[in-house]
């Protein structure tokens, strides 16, 4: 099987280092992909995608603004940790801002 491109966005040279997939998506989503990496400017970046039947939607997430973030293992929620501090991320659908 050849891999399918699920998303192509305006990130500049981002490299993802941690990816988590959960199957209990919210709303109409059947799953969620969470990817954590860093951009070319050295700042960590978080991307969250909701998988629906026919498409993949990118959700808007807060800027992490620093390095060293890790993904926590959860059952669906998006939880990040850095230097022992654990924070929950609540993403907003991009279309909510339109």
């Amino acid at each position: 099987m050849t891999p399918d491109l699920i998303w192509s966005g305006p990130l500049e040279g981002a490299r993802f280092r941690e990816i988590a997939v959960s199957t209990n998506g919210s709303g109409g989503a059947i799953g969620r992909i969470t990817a954590l990496g860093f951009e070319s400017n050295g700042i960590d970046v978080l991307q969250i995608f909701d998988i629906e039947q026919e498409k993949v939607n990118a959700l808007e997430v807060p800027s992490l603004g620093s390095l060293g973030w890790r993904l926590a293992l959860t059952c669906g929620a998006i939880v990040l940790h850095r230097n022992g501090k654990v924070l929950e991320c609540t993403p907003v659908p991009v279309q909510a801002r339109v």
Partner: protein
């Protein structure tokens, strides 16, 4: 309030602080613990963190972090158990619901068993009561720890099993226990069969007909009867307490 202001407020609150372990963690895991059997009740989040130096911490949204071990090297969640291994070659089993409710100063106890030197947890399979460990040489071994086996046996003896049909052909639940599964688990893992009765003797007497229906094999019934004795199963010493040649049970 305008929509932009509202969205701005949401934007500033999208990373919500939950817990501060006070030191960098290599692995953080979050699990939701139901507060009661009622599924509508809010769940308590239990945060578990393992640092690279081996400190294993637990915390909730309302309590300060608790240090479970200073020499842990791996951990996992199995049913209601938080299972972790230490560099002292032991696997520890602590109740997750107790960790989620007890304050940091309370001793949560738990059980432990020896494991091979350098073992690390790969995963656990609660349904088969097994824990998969990776040995230092890379081989994988599966063990059936007694706390996980006992938890399954207790769940089976307490279970409400679906009854197919009654006289008016209405489906309903009957309190009859999963005795066959509990019996076979006891037999396979060499657990004293008294545990089936001692879990709740009054309930067992009420469900005796269900037990005979499920464990219908004559040999099994004979085995069960010959194993019954005046033993207080809950007071049995742990393996660590027992030395070679010591008695395996306390007689009443």
């Amino acid at each position: 309030m305008t929509l932009d202001t509202l969205l701005g407020d949401i934007g500033t609150k999208r990373l919500i602080p939950c817990v501060d372990f006070g030191r960098p963690c290599d692995v953080v895991r979050v699990i939701d613990i139901p507060q009661s059997s009622d599924s509508s009740a809010a769940a308590t989040s239990l945060f578990l963190g393992l640092t690279c130096s081996g400190t294993f911490l637990s915390a909730t949204l309302s309590s300060s972090p608790r240090t479970l071990a200073q020499n842990a090297n791996s951990f996992t969640i199995s049913g209601d158990f938080v299972v972790y291994t230490t560099s002292a070659h032991e696997a520890h089993f602590v109740s997750a619901s107790l960790l989620a409710t007890a304050d940091a100063s309370t001793d949560v106890g738990g059980e432990q068993r020896r494991v091979e030197r350098g073992s690390r947890i790969v995963t656990s399979v609660p349904s088969t009561m097994s824990l998969v460990l990776q040995m230092p040489r890379g081989n994988l071994e599966t063990v059936n720890p007694r706390p996980m086996v006992m938890a399954n046996i207790h769940a089976d003896t307490d279970a409400w099993v679906f009854s197919s049909c009654d006289e008016v052909c209405t489906h309903r639940y009957q309190q009859r226990g999963n005795y066959r599964k509990a019996f076979l688990a006891c037999r396979k893992h060499r657990i004293d069969l008294n545990v089936i009765v001692d879990r709740n003797p009054k309930l067992f007497r009420e469900r005796l007909s269900s037990f005979i229906e499920q464990v219908s094999d004559v040999d099994y019934v004979n085995l069960f009867l010959t194993n019954l004795g005046f033993v207080v199963f809950s007071n049995l010493p742990t393996r660590a307490d027992r030395g070679p040649g010591k008695v395996r049970s306390h007689q009443r």
